[in-house]
Amino acid sequence: MTNNLYIKLGAIAAVTALAVLAFTPLSEKVSLGLDLKGGVHLVLGVQTDDALRLESETTSEQLKQAAADQGITITTAPALTEFSVTGVPSDRDQQFRALADSATSLSYDRTSGGNGSYTFTMRPNVVVQTRSEAVTQAIQTIERRVNELGVAEPNIAEYGNSGDQIMVQLPGLQDVARAKQIIRSTAILEWKLVEAGPLSDRAALLQPHGGTVPAEMEVVPGVDDSGVPAFYLLRRIAAVTGRDLRNARPTVDEYNTPAVSFTLNSEGVSKFSRATAASVGRQMAIVLDGRVQSAPVIESAITTAEARITGRFTQQEVRDLSLVLRSGALPASLTYLEEREVGPSLGADSIRAGVTSSIAGLAMVTMFMLLYYRLAGLNAFVSIVLNLVILLGFMAYLGAVMTLPGIAGFVLTIAMGVDSNVLIFERIREELTGSRSAKQAVTAAFNRVLITIIDTHVCSLIAAAFLFQFGTGPIRGFATTLFFGLVTNVFTAVFVSRTIFELILSRRPVGSARLSI
């Protein structure tokens, strides 16, 4: 053997050792996809319009408040990305404009409709930013909730190209229905003063106001003290909201029924005491996601940070409600767009099926190669097995996730490995008929076939790359194995296979034409 050959064998041994090192122990280094270990994959759509509406509502409300502070009474009508202002007195117009400039000019463009009316339109960049912030906030909120659920290795990320979708992957989850409920509950908690109600008849509630909802108020559904569905007429602006919450945890009330106890932060306490001091003897409604949970009477001004929400909750509901309140409200409502749930038993079946088909494929292919190419078939076997080993090492090193289509990618890698070997072996046979020595034939064949192998592999790599780009979840696993399978195949089919031939030939007399192929 020449020194050159030793170096090559050493390189192969080193690469193999590195690969084996990368994927051992297998159970720790190669992570399985949801389709193999079981779990749930969800795609949620964020209704980013909600965030826009909230933004224009808040800004118009702030402007109205600021104008009121200056003694200017205006009427505002917020829409999705704009709001209109009417009723600016002509003698205060100058002052209002100055006020509006300082309050809104960063985010809104103002156009005058004449006669004391204005339209404020949200700037396009602000619209985009508000939408993307809503998605980011939703992701953070979902992360907090999922962490509280105690799911190991969750994966939560923005999804797709539309910019308003979120993917949530929860491996090994058992109670999917509960998790889904917790993830999407908006958890908007508000305390609002009750103006009238509860009444079971909506029309009767509005009777004193001439059948229409007054501008400052809103009608909210809920239940009355005895649990019968009823309507409340509430003050529109919340006295305190869930943003002022510091903590929430399950507890029981004086009747020993489940309740949620919460702690307010200092700002919440001061807001709460201001609102309650002014309204002793009236009812304060606790509104969760647009439904009145309860409406206790304010006995005295509340100045402590501790409070409690009671309602008709089960223990489970109380636990879940505390969880979502702790994790904060979602900036916009969410809808489920895709749900894929794989039970652990099906995942285990799939692993078994994948491994069986890989071994069966390898066995059948090897048998054929040994029959057809005799000893050279063994060479093919060695290079294919090495290919699989290095590929697995690559996957582990890159932290790629193994999916069922990914296993199919392994089976295809076997096929591609054989393809390159067949290409080479057929060429060697052809070169051997040209009455050359075995060594010359092997060298000529490898040199010539290398170009073909590169051309064919580049074509398949292009297909794999686009597949990866398009791919979701499992398909991505397939594209990844296919891609790196192709890369490692060039190494094993060309370099490893050639070295083995050289090793065999180095034990033969120079010029021998004998080669078992």
């Binding site: 489920y336 749900e339 749930e341 039970g343 099906l346 074509c459 292009i462 297909a463 597949l467």
Partner: protein
């Protein structure tokens, strides 16, 4: 051992027959597709619900169908896996005006529990909304087109443009034939099947490139020979490689078909059809189109020089 000893078949002579056969299959498939009102798209692309249930006792399709009640009309009920596994797959289209995405699957579970078909657990549930379905549809079409475009560009760069067209024609042929057979054998187009189709695209071109590469090499050695005879010789010279590779790849994919379980069956079936179609198109379609586009019996000296320069580079 050898399959072919110095094969010398006149493939080019048979190219019109081969083209006619392919066109016939594709047209017949097209007729089937039109007759059934479109390609058999799975829930991945149309939106809808698929649940796989694991029953605790033996169960048959009719019992499940009966228990579904009014929903049975739209439902596809199929056994999943082996008979002794007692698994059933139920597929339903998107519910119109349902309150939430999982309403259909919840309703199915409820009516089955009420229907007395026995205890079961849900082992797999896929619910896809119309939004995601059309997203994935768009992505699949886009991925296929861009992948083929990329391959075309590469072959045009490495060989010449008429060869690229030939390879792409062969690839489209393989994709179409595969779609036809999927329709005939009642497989739905799912994400996995699209992955298989893209793999077939890569494989088919792979196969074709081996022949083209040989054409380029032979052209350089035999400058006076007409393109038709060079191509024919190249196809013959690479014939044993083409057949053996197809055979071994088929072995691997058949293993996947037999042992890969129901989840991968559509994928494996697509690969099997695609490999057979790909091998056929490599021998008959790709070169025929390349010759047609190069002009009859053109020696195309420019391409020879071009080929040699590229080969050295």
């Amino acid at each position: 051992m050898r399959i072919f000893d110095n094969p010398n078949f006149d493939f080019i002579r048979w190219r019109w027959h081969a083209l006619a056969l392919s066109v016939l299959i594709i047209l017949a498939g097209l007729a089937t597709v039109v007759a059934r009102g479109g390609l058999p798209l799975g829930v991945d692309f149309t939106g809808g619900t698929v649940v796989v249930l694991q029953f605790n006792q033996p169960v048959n399709e009719d019992a499940v169908r009966n228990a579904l009640g009014s929903r049975a009309a739209d439902a596809v009920v199929q056994r999943f896996g082996a008979v002794e596994q007692n698994q059933m797959m139920i597929r339903l289209p998107l519910g119109a005006g349902e309150a939430s995405l999982d309403a259909v699957s919840t309703a199915v579970e409820q009516s089955l529990r009420a229907g007395g078909v026995g205890e079961f657990t849900v082992i797999n549930r896929d619910v896809v909304s119309a939004t995601i379905g059309s997203d994935l549809r768009g992505k699949a079409i886009w991925a296929t087109i861009t992948a083929i475009g990329g391959i075309l560009a590469y072959i045009a760069f490495r060989f010449r443009f008429s060869f690229a067209i030939g390879a792409v024609a062969a690839t489209f042929h393989d994709i179409l034939v595969t779609l036809v057979f999927l329709t005939w054998f009642g497989y739905d187009l799912s994400l996995n099947v699209v992955a298989a189709i893209l793999t077939i695209a890569g494989y088919s071109v792979n196969d074709t490139v081996v022949v083209f590469d040989r054409v380029r090499e032979t052209q350089r050695l035999a400058r006076k020979e007409g393109l038709e005879s060079v191509v024919n010789r190249a196809v013959n010279q690479t014939l044993s490689r083409t057949v053996i590779t197809a055979g071994t790849t088929l072995l691997a994919v058949i293993a996947l078909f037999l042992f890969g379980g129901d989840v991968l069956r559509g994928f494996a079936f697509t690969m099997i059809v695609g490999i057979i179609a790909g091998t056929y198109s490599t021998v008959f379609i790709a070169s025929a189109v390349a010759i047609l586009l190069s002009g009859r019996s053109a020696v195309a000296p420019a391409a020879q020089v071009d080929g040699r320069r590229r080969a050295k580079a």
